[in-house]
């Protein structure tokens, strides 16, 4: 009963084994990939472990407070140095081991040649609610 974020990167993660850009896949391979992701989410909903899932557009902008009375600053041209998030899935599972198992399955989504991508997914635990017992200094 702990929530984890599975982060999928466009950039910033170590390279996948089957590291072919998606625009060089066949349309069928893309369909198979999308189908795999949808089936995965549907399966997690059935097992009662699904919380949320969203994909993000590849282009992001860094924004910064520009000072009193000035517009915010955006960084525009340095996009190539950034870690880019492709999307996320949030799961609610009974153990860390189960979260790792599911991240492994998601990383096996088919890519070019119908072979698993073996991409690196980042697994991050959510902070949970403080427990009432357990700790003397509460």
């Amino acid at each position: 009963m702990a929530k984890y974020l599975l982060l999928k990167h466009y950039r910033g993660a170590p390279a996948a084994v089957n590291d072919v850009p998606m625009d060089q896949w066949t349309p069928e391979e893309i369909s198979a990939h999308v189908q795999y992701m949808n089936d995965f989410a549907a399966r997690l909903e059935k097992s009662g472990e699904f919380v949320d899932s969203k994909a993000l557009a590849p282009e992001g902008t860094f924004v910064q407070y520009g000072g009193e009375g000035r517009p915010p600053v955006t960084d525009g041209p340095f996009a190539e140095t950034k870690d880019l998030i492709a999307g996320w899935m949030i799961i609610d599972v009974d153990s860390y081991e189960r979260a790792v198992e599911l991240a492994g399955e998601l990383s096996a989504a088919p890519g070019a040649g119908g072979k698993p991508i073996h991409e690196w997914l980042e697994l991050r635990p959510f902070y949970s609610a403080p427990t009432a017992t357990e700790c003397t200094w509460k």
């Binding site: 009963m1 929530k3 909903e45 059935k46 097992s47 009662g48 472990e49 699904f50 919380v51 949320d52 609610d92 599972v93 009974d94 902070y127 949970s128 609610a129 403080p130 427990t131 009432a132 017992t133 357990e134 700790c135 003397t136 200094w137 509460k138």
Partner: protein, 381 residues
């Protein structure tokens, strides 16, 4: 409409249906239908016997659903033959339901969800809100759980320990949405304690009451954590504390010590102290020794080190801590605290900051970061 009454009757009614031969999942659906009917009908036409009314309506709903399902005709015949209502031994029914919902074949989260739904009478939406997951996910979790236990024979004796573990999980979950899970866990444990005579059930109930009694004082209005020593003891609920202590003493008198009783004893000693300084740490260390004999849970040994630090001084606490695996959750936080008490502020500040990185929740992280900052701002940079 008395929602509390409805919810307290739920496990009873469900238990009676299942004992009469209804399949668990179908019975659960029928009881939910009956509850909806009650919410609709009772305000204008309150029944004299609420439980009898619910049993009658739920049973009718169950028969309707069964009859409508031609594939189940065989079982319908079976059920019609078996039907011999009469007064039911309701205590046993309720107890069996607790065992079923906490059955070892279920994962912890499924057992919790099923318990809240079938025993607690909460709606799927309420449970989903409390656990911050979509309603569809929670509905699937519950229906999977129901399928898992549908083959479990209802008359098998269950294991009280598994039931207590589930209730303990519910209690520790905090609260969100429109259901206070700690209060719900207390309600269910009270109900369990009323139908089963077991010192550990009493122990868990006492533990919950003693912790719940301090809840208002445990966090500041901004949500930040207030450590035990700094809590405003005037805000502790003395009625709950008195009840918890009384229940605990009766349980301890039976001389069948278990983990929950020992934990409750520690909580009672904290609750009993008029000021933090007057806490009986020597006795607390003794209870942690008892606990360590009952369980190999490393959290117990860590908490014991804290108590040793208070009873025999920070050096003794650090010595006790040195014997433990430093990868334990909160090990660093305890080390930071003991080093501060020992006067080594530099080490304490570094360890507080390190402990903050490993904190399991936001309130603790912020608390530990504040401790580090407090010590850092005292020293020249």
């Amino acid at each position: 409409m008395n929602e509390a009454l409805l919810r307290s009757l739920t496990p009873n009614v469900l238990g009676i249906l299942v004992r009469r031969g209804a399949d668990f999942a179908a019975a659960e659906d029928a009881v939910q239908d009956a509850l909806i009917e009650a919410v609709r009908v009772w305000p204008a036409d309150p029944p004299r016997d609420a439980k009898g009314w619910l049993v009658t309506v739920a049973w009718r709903k169950f028969l309707d659903a069964t009859r409508a399902d031609t594939a189940r005709r065989r079982r319908e015949d079976l059920v019609d033959e078996e039907q011999a209502p009469g007064p039911a031994p309701s205590a046993d029914d309720t107890l069996q339901l607790y065992f079923l919902c906490a059955h070892p074949s279920l994962t912890p989260s499924s057992a919790v969800a099923l318990t809240l739904r079938a025993v607690g009478g909460l709606t799927t939406r309420q449970i989903a809100q409390a656990y911050l997951v979509p309603e569809a996910t929670m509905a699937q979790r519950i229906s999977r759980a129901k399928r898992t236990v549908s083959d479990v024979r209802f008359d098998q004796p269950g294991d009280v320990a598994t039931v207590l573990r589930v209730l303990y999980l519910v209690f520790n979950e905090g609260y969100s949405g429109d259901v206070d899970l700690a209060a719900e866990a207390i309600r269910l444990t009270r109900q369990l304690a009323a139908v089963i005579d077991h010192p550990e059930v009493a122990g868990l109930l006492a533990l919950m009451l003693l912790h719940h009694a301090r809840r208002a004082a445990r966090t500041a209005p901004d949500g930040s954590l207030v450590p035990l020593a700094e809590q405003d003891r005037g805000r502790w609920d003395t009625t709950l504390i008195a009840e918890g202590v009384e229940i605990l003493q009766a349980a301890l008198a039976r001389d069948r010590l278990g983990e929950f009783q020992a934990q409750a004893a520690v909580a009672a000693l904290h609750a009993d102290a008029p000021t933090a300084e007057e806490t009986d740490w020597v006795q607390i260390v003794e209870w942690y020794d008892e606990l360590a004999g009952l369980t190999d849970n490393p959290v117990v040994r860590l908490n014991r080190a804290v108590a040793v630090g208070e009873a025999d001084g920070p050096r003794a606490g650090l010595a006790a801590l040195a014997a433990l695996d430093d990868s334990l959750p909160r090990h660093t936080a305890v080390a930071a605290y003991l080093h501060e008490r020992d006067g080594d502020l530099t080490t304490a500040a570094r360890l507080y900051a390190e402990a903050a990185q490993k904190a399991p929740n936001l309130a603790e992280r912020n608390h530990l970061t504040r401790q580090a900052a407090r010590l850092n701002t005292r020293r020249p940079r």
